[in-house]
Subunit: 409 residues, 2 copies
DNA sequence: GTGATACGTTGCCCAAGCCTACAAACCCTC
DNA sequence: GAGGGTTTGTAGGCTTGGGCAACGTATCAC
């Protein structure tokens, strides 16, 4: 239990303002005054400091408004960026995401086979080195990595990433040593829920459950009481291994009768006669909705009922406001959301069910880039006074009007 | 997102110190300096304000120490009290709990039959009125009620308390109107986990799961990231309704195959040939451990295996540090904790299982009194500057040495 | 006693948010 | 387009609360 002194106070107030403009988009100084409850002059001083540090920009006021002196718009800088990395079986994706929310770059580096840790670090470092050159006048805060597996929160050690075949790999340390940038990592689904929480379906809500169905299994994440719940070591949200049947099918961890064992993308594709590699999320959803095959429909119903058991468990346990479904789970939801609702209702306490809705994810392919960048931004958002000088030549107090648009997600 | 001004700062620092001495017991000013990181002079000023407000007392220093000037001991007052109330089927229990942790009084008012809301309010008000007279020189902060049922967090409405037969009863409003004291209420198991978290098996931990087995079902509570997770409306922690089998037994909510349907105290008592009413928790535990009946042992094993499914779900979902079992679930654990561990291990991710241990609750019969009092204290702990003047004649700056012992729980 | 150590106390400093007065920039009306 | 009403930024002084350093005080060890 730490006490708070004057420095902490200032840091906290700077943090609050930077978070507001980062998460909720640009806001006028007058709006910031109302939102924070702080005095006009205080807001002025705080914004001035953030401008001085190059973290926000003040734009000319919006013309269309009511009476009174117009208030300058405060917007997060789009020259302060984080690098988001997502290693997968068939590719490594790297993105450059600005504090303003703009995704400046998106690079997909295809891999012939699942990358080893060394390959992943080498390839990422290569791309980052190139980016550093290209983004000379940008300030690169750090790197956030979305890993499809369990990541230890304390040090970013990848405990187990089954599809990549990684076990206890010190990804963060390796990447930090190779690039010279601070690196943080977390489970991909946990970052997904962060992204949906701040910028997607869960905006403004405090209790979210997120489940994502991917080609290799089901993962998830939690927001509880307004904060992302990582659990003791960072492994929270593994809904895929919830037991939902007495069946003998096993999941990637070898456990029988789990959600991940019973509800699979593979089975859906097989029933539809589609090829796994060539089918993206939208195609699968359209095919499922369009199909009139009773076999497909039976399978969908079966999977929905199993999904309902897992969701009901989460509802009874956590009393969430919203359940967000991503990946092929969103496709299942699209086919028959009513069946899912009814099945969940039958297995939950009425009072808890009354509080919850089930909805598909709204963020598309940029989801993990945004989530991973958010992870990298966290240190800066917590302490805007920290040194973020990775570029010596960042021109401060630039009067160049931002040519990029508002947050695009 | 609220900004912080100077008043908030002071309030927060007072809050931190009051929480420390309340939760972790008395501490010297020097210890407070180290724990909070604040300056000696600041601690002096803060403690002086808390003494002035009658919330803490300074005692003469501990004699046995090293060199140096002895530091006065700061202890939470035991004349600032909350009233804890727990209505049950067969009795209403009322306790007087001091900020220091001392339980001054414990009154059990036996009921011939389950109390209606009106009876509960009338009886409680009667006891409270008497207590107010008796505790003339004490400062009564408010009333905290532990309700065996779902309680809406926003206003303390009892949504559904099945054993008491209460539905949508405005308990808090009624009791506040009748007694003139502030009243807060919450689910009993949620308060149980609060108590275990601050004063019991979960001290100092951040991610706890608590399950309590009572005569009428299984409830629970969560601590996630160091704070009690109440969920959206306050209904979180209802582990009893987690589906653990494909069986047809139903629970109190009419859901089949749930933990509460399969794992019951009643079945254990029946197998042991014991009478429900006359058997307390310790007796049941002793009888279970002592029994060499294969029927009993089979039943225990069955129940342990079902319990393991529910616990495994929680472990995969929440990655907790500790699972605390109370009531007859602790008795099951006492019979064969190894079987439970093995069964949970088989259903969880190894990385998550490695972080968790399963332990019985350590707080006994005072559990709910302490939890309910904690709920009532929360407002004061959050803002020690608030007016708590329910007694005009509270003698401040009393030099009377406290005759009561250190926290007894 | 004397020194060492640890801690409370006191007076001063400073940072940061608030307040007040005033100026600036918009709207609307005539 | 001049003037009133409204909202907001700005400048300067005020207040508050925590930090700091010097000093006083209580203990232990010898």
């Amino acid at each position: 239990m730490q006490g708070t002194n004057h420095d902490d106070l200032r840091r906290h107030n700077l943090s609050i303002i930077l978070r507001l403009v980062h998460r909720s988009g640009a806001a006028s100084r007058a709006q910031l005054t109302r939102l924070t409850g702080l005095n006009r002059s205080t807001i002025g001083a705080l914004v001035a400091e953030l401008v001085e540090r190059g973290l926000v920009e003040e734009r000319t006021p919006d013309p269309t408004r009511l009476a009174g002196r117009p208030s300058p718009i405060v917007a997060a800088s789009d020259r302060v960026v984080a690098i988001a990395v997502n290693p997968e079986i068939d590719a490594i994706t790297v993105g450059v995401v600005a504090l303003s929310g703009v995704v400046h770059r998106l690079i997909r580096y295809a891999m012939p086979s699942s990358p080893s840790i060394t390959e992943a670090v080498t390839i990422t470092t290569g791309i980052v080195t190139q980016l550093k050159r290209d983004l000379g006048e940008y300030s690169i805060i750090g790197i956030g990595v979305a890993v499809p597996g369990l990541v230890r929160a304390t040090d970013g050690l990848v405990r187990h990433a089954p599809h990549l075949g990684w076990v206890d790999e010190p990804l963060c340390d390796l990447l930090a040593a190779a690039t010279g940038l601070p690196v943080v990592a977390a489970n991909d689904a946990s970052l997904g829920v962060t992204a949906e929480h701040y910028f997607g379906a869960g905006q403004g809500l405090t209790d979210l459950v997120y489940l994502n169905g991917g080609s290799s299994g089901i993962g998830g994440g939690l927001v509880i009481g307004g904060v992302a719940a990582s659990g003791r070591a960072g492994y929270a949200g593994e809904f895929g291994h919830t037991r939902v049947s007495a069946g003998t099918n096993t999941d990637s961890a070898g456990i029988a009768g789990t959600l991940e064992a019973e509800v699979t993308r593979h089975a859906l594709l097989a029933a539809l006669g589609l090829h796994a590699g060539a089918t993206d999320a939208d195609t699968l959803e359209r095919a499922l909705v369009a199909s009139d095959s009773p076999v497909v429909r039976n399978l969908v119903n079966r999977q929905l009922d199993f999904l309902a058991i897992a969701l009901a468990g989460a509802v009874n346990m956590l009393n969430p406001q919203l359940i967000v479904l991503g990946g092929f789970l969103a496709a299942l939801h699209a086919v028959d959301s009513e069946r899912l609702n009814v099945a969940v209702a039958a297995l939950t306490l009425p009072a808890a069910f009354a509080e919850v809705s089930i909805t598909p994810a709204v963020l598309g392919s940029n989801l993990l880039m945004i989530g991973a960048a958010e992870l990298a931004f966290e240190a800066l958002l917590l302490d805007p006074q920290q040194d973020q000088g990775n570029t010596a030549g960042l021109p401060r107090l630039s009067s160049r009007a931002a040519e990029t648009a508002a947050p695009t997600f």
